[in-house]
């Protein structure tokens, strides 16, 4: 018993050094050498400023941008508070939230069915993607706000639609941040677009200023 206790203490320390210190350090070293961008979170820079991570979702407001899914992470897309809504399927709060969001979307694009991913919160609250259906649903709104044809926007969506990985894994999807950055590059917001509210204004103005290419770090 006493001998095994002594062994237990020494064994805990030795294996902590091996598995808890040396192993993660070795993985970090190799990961940073082989995949420096991915190991650091695929941060995207525009005009020298970090504007987000390619794979962490963000909130977009105003009709000139594609919107992400509803998010339960903090006040929305807060990576320091990741998580889902955890509302149960029969919880009135969930049903009312979904139906209110669905009504709003119906008003934007009457007649088209509302894709389920646009009114449901993801598990992480940081879902970077929407379904292709979710993007196509928003095309008329964005086309109007940008003053371009709907066809042009749909083409851009198709260009940014990622199919199943290797052709069979997962679901087809559209990365919202990448799509919006492409929008800003291809169809920058000109002065002719009317700005409706101040909250939207600042968002648009920032987008309009920067038509330079964004670079992934």
């Amino acid at each position: 018993m006493k001998k095994n206790l002594l062994v237990a203490v020494r064994f805990t320390l030795v294996t902590t050094v091996i598995c808890g210190i040396l192993y993660p350090l070795a993985v970090t070293g190799l990961a940073q050498l082989l995949f420096p961008g991915r190991a650091s979170g695929q941060l995207i820079e525009r005009d020298g400023t970090v504007i987000g991570s390619r794979i962490i979702g963000q909130e977009f407001s105003g009709p000139a941008y594609f919107h992400s899914r509803p998010s339960a992470a903090g006040t929305g897309y807060d990576p320091l508070d990741s998580g889902g809504s955890n509302l149960g399927p029969t919880n009135r709060a969930l049903i009312e939230r979904v139906e209110a969001d669905a009504r709003k979307l119906h008003a934007e694009n009457p007649g088209a069915p509302v894709p389920s991913d646009l009114v449901t919160a993801s598990g992480s609250g940081l879902d970077p993607d929407i379904s292709p259906a979710g993007a196509l649903f928003q095309a008329p709104m964005v086309a109007r706000a940008r003053g371009v044809s709907e066809q042009a926007i749909i083409e851009l969506i198709h260009k940014h639609t990622r199919g199943r990985q290797f052709g069979f894994l997962g679901e087809p999807r559209v990365n919202v941040l990448e799509l919006n950055l492409a929008l800003d590059r291809r169809y920058p917001l000109g002065a002719k677009v009317k700005l409706s509210s101040s909250a939207v204004q600042s968002g648009m103005a920032r987008g309009a200023r920067s038509d330079s290419r964004s670079t992934a770090r």
């Binding site: 598995c19 808890g20 979170g41 970090v50 999807r173």
Partner: protein
């Protein structure tokens, strides 16, 4: 349900089938101390570990000493984790300057990681420093997984050996498990995960300037609503991939981030998702082959594998069916799957995974005692959410946790041959060993402790205010939340119906006790069975021996598991998820 979804499920099961043999053979070689291709690199390290720790690698232990060594190792390493959590502010690798973890939470977390549960009442990105994550939490992912695996090996040795009281050396088994099995696979898997976008660094959290700043309404502590402008997003970083690999491969499941494997930095692509699921079932699937190989009855190993695969497919099918139906209470929403949208009940699920990869992950993580999640079970449809719950209630024996799954399954095997023995009126035998009253008593003890812990704590929590105050979803769903918390704890799973506010003194303490009971009161009877079996003589097989191979045996085994599980938990389930399902179909909200 779509063809693509079914194809991915079938592909996954095929991979698990194909790796059973190579993994099983490798495990048998490692624990039989036979030669492997890694020996030239690892033998010197192994000898160094023994020298540093004062271990005599040639000495074998009786089951009681093995149990003592296991308990001492668990106790000491749990104390070290508690210490690291409580002092992290003064230790290195803490770029976010996080404070020390408060005592109740630190104790709950230490118990949870030592028992391979990884129940988390905190969000990792804002609670644990990089050092606590890697040297505290990820370390326990290695240690608790190794303990689980060596216990399964000891039980197999008990079955295979005869007329001896020696079952192996705990320190040697754990060392070989860490060096030969866990570390090499995790090292490779971690790098593959990084290639998919799982992060691995020690950077401080960068802040991103949003291109579309927006305003949100926030209600302050004084009840006043204020408009807050959000212009930036702070992005957490950390050594995630190295922890992610062992989190899955050791069936631990404790996320680096609060959102666990739903988080894009933990599970960025469908391929990383597939890899994580394969890592979870790799050892449990392989161990069935090891069982066959070490006991000299390969067909018995496959019979156990088949019983597991059957229960697994049943679970996946039920959950997939339930989730792809969508939520009938959502009006005016298109929930049909098509070429351009995943469809189904997408609340709590990621677009890149859709329903198929979400329910598959849910079934895998709860069939194993893993508990990692890539979607939120609390928001599943009632029957979809019942599947993970039932999986854990059945004892996580469907492939199961590393080691824990196999030894849990062998408890049911003993019960199955006992029941068969009663039916034909003969003393039950298992692979040449007579199963006597002591063995059956120990097996029943392992089964009863789970039942007692789950139902006992749940009963207290749904009548006392300190329990009900944490329930976040009204109606029958609230009962399911509590039931899930103790099922997950006692089963050492660690997944949650996460709406339940678990960071309270009552839940932190009671779930920790449930975890310790569920782990050690399971392990000790198992070791006792191993000791008892090893000391027995081999009885030659006769025409009256009930065969433990083939479809008849697999069917009996499945029936035993389902009957024990159903008899125990059906009343509770009917008041929770089943009632909620019926109410939902009737259009009722709470």
């Amino acid at each position: 349900m779509t063809a693509s979804g079914w194809f991915q499920i079938a592909l996954y099961l095929l991979v698990i089938f194909l790796i059973a043999k190579p993994v099983g053979i490798f495990l048998a070689r490692v624990f039989n101390r036979e030669k492997t291709f890694l020996d030239p690199f690892l033998r010197p390290v192994e000898k160094l570990v023994y020298r540093l720790c004062g271990v005599d690698e040639t000495r074998e232990m009786r089951w009681t000493e093995y149990a003592v060594a296991m308990l001492l190792f668990s106790g000491v390493s749990m104390a070290l984790l508690y210490l690291i959590e409580r002092t992290q502010k003064w230790l290195p690798l803490d770029p976010q300057k996080l404070p020390n973890v408060p005592p109740f939470l630190a104790f709950g977390t230490a118990a949870s990681f030592t028992t391979n549960t990884n129940w988390q009442a905190y969000g990792g990105e804002t609670t644990m420093s990089y050092l606590t994550q890697m040297a505290g939490l990820a370390y326990h992912n290695f240690a608790s997984a190794a303990v689980g695996i060596v216990l399964a090996i000891v039980l197999i040795r008990g079955i295979a050996r005869k007329e001896t009281d020696k079952l192996g050396n705990f320190w040697v088994d754990v060392t070989r498990c860490l060096l030969w099995v866990l570390l090499p696979v995790c090292f490779v898997a971690a790098l593959v995960l990084v290639s998919q976008g799982v992060i691995q660094n020690f950077h401080p959290y960068p802040s991103a300037q949003l291109i579309s700043p927006h305003s949100v309404q926030a209600t302050g502590a004084n009840g006043k609503t204020t408009i807050r402008k959000i212009t930036e997003q702070v992005i957490p970083e950390g050594p995630v991939a190295s922890q992610e690999a062992i989190k899955e491969f050791g069936t631990n499941g404790g996320g680096f981030f609060n959102a666990n494997s739903a988080h894009p930095f933990e599970n960025p692509t469908p391929f990383s998702n597939l890899l994580e699921m394969v890592l979870i079932f790799a050892i449990p699937s392989g161990l069935t082959y090891t069982l066959g190989r070490m006991t000299g009855s390969q067909r018995h190993g496959w019979a156990v594998w088949a019983a597991m695969a059957f229960l697994f497919l049943a679970a996946v099918t039920t959950a997939y069916w339930a989730e792809s139906q969508g939520n009938p209470l959502f009006h005016g929403v298109d929930q049909k799957a098509s070429a351009i949208q995943p469809g189904g009940n997408m609340e709590g699920k990621e677009v890149r995974f859709g329903d198929a990869d979400s329910v598959l992950f849910a079934a895998v993580t709860t069939d194993a005692s893993c508990g990692a999640v890539n979607s939120m079970f609390d928001s599943y449809t009632p029957l979809g959410g019942m599947v993970p719950l039932v999986n854990i209630m059945l004892g996580e024996v469907v492939f199961g946790g590393v080691g824990a799954g196999l030894y849990g399954m062998l408890v049911f095997v003993i019960l199955a041959v006992f029941i068969a023995g009663l039916m034909v009126g003969r003393t039950p035998e298992y692979l040449g060993k007579k199963i006597e009253s002591y063995d059956v008593k120990m097996a029943m003890l392992a089964v009863l402790i789970l039942t007692f812990t789950i139902l006992g704590f749940s009963a207290i929590s749904v009548v006392e205010p300190f329990g009900t105050a944490s329930i976040s979803n009204p109606g029958p769903h609230g009962l399911t939340q509590v039931l899930y918390a103790y099922t997950s704890s006692a089963g050492n799973n660690g997944s949650a119906f996460a709406g339940l506010e678990a960071n309270t003194p009552w839940y932190n303490t009671s779930t920790a006790v449930a975890q310790l009971l569920g782990r050690f009161f399971m392990i000790i009877p198992i070791l006792a069975i191993a000791g008892s079996l090893a000391s027995k003589k081999i009885v030659p097989e006769s025409s009256g021996t009930f065969p433990v191979t083939g479809a008849l045996f697999s069917t009996l085994l499945v029936s035993t598991i389902v009957i024990v599980g159903a008899l125990t938990f059906f009343p509770a389930l009917s008041l929770g998820p089943i009632l909620e399902h019926l109410m939902m179909l009737a259009g009722k909200m709470f």
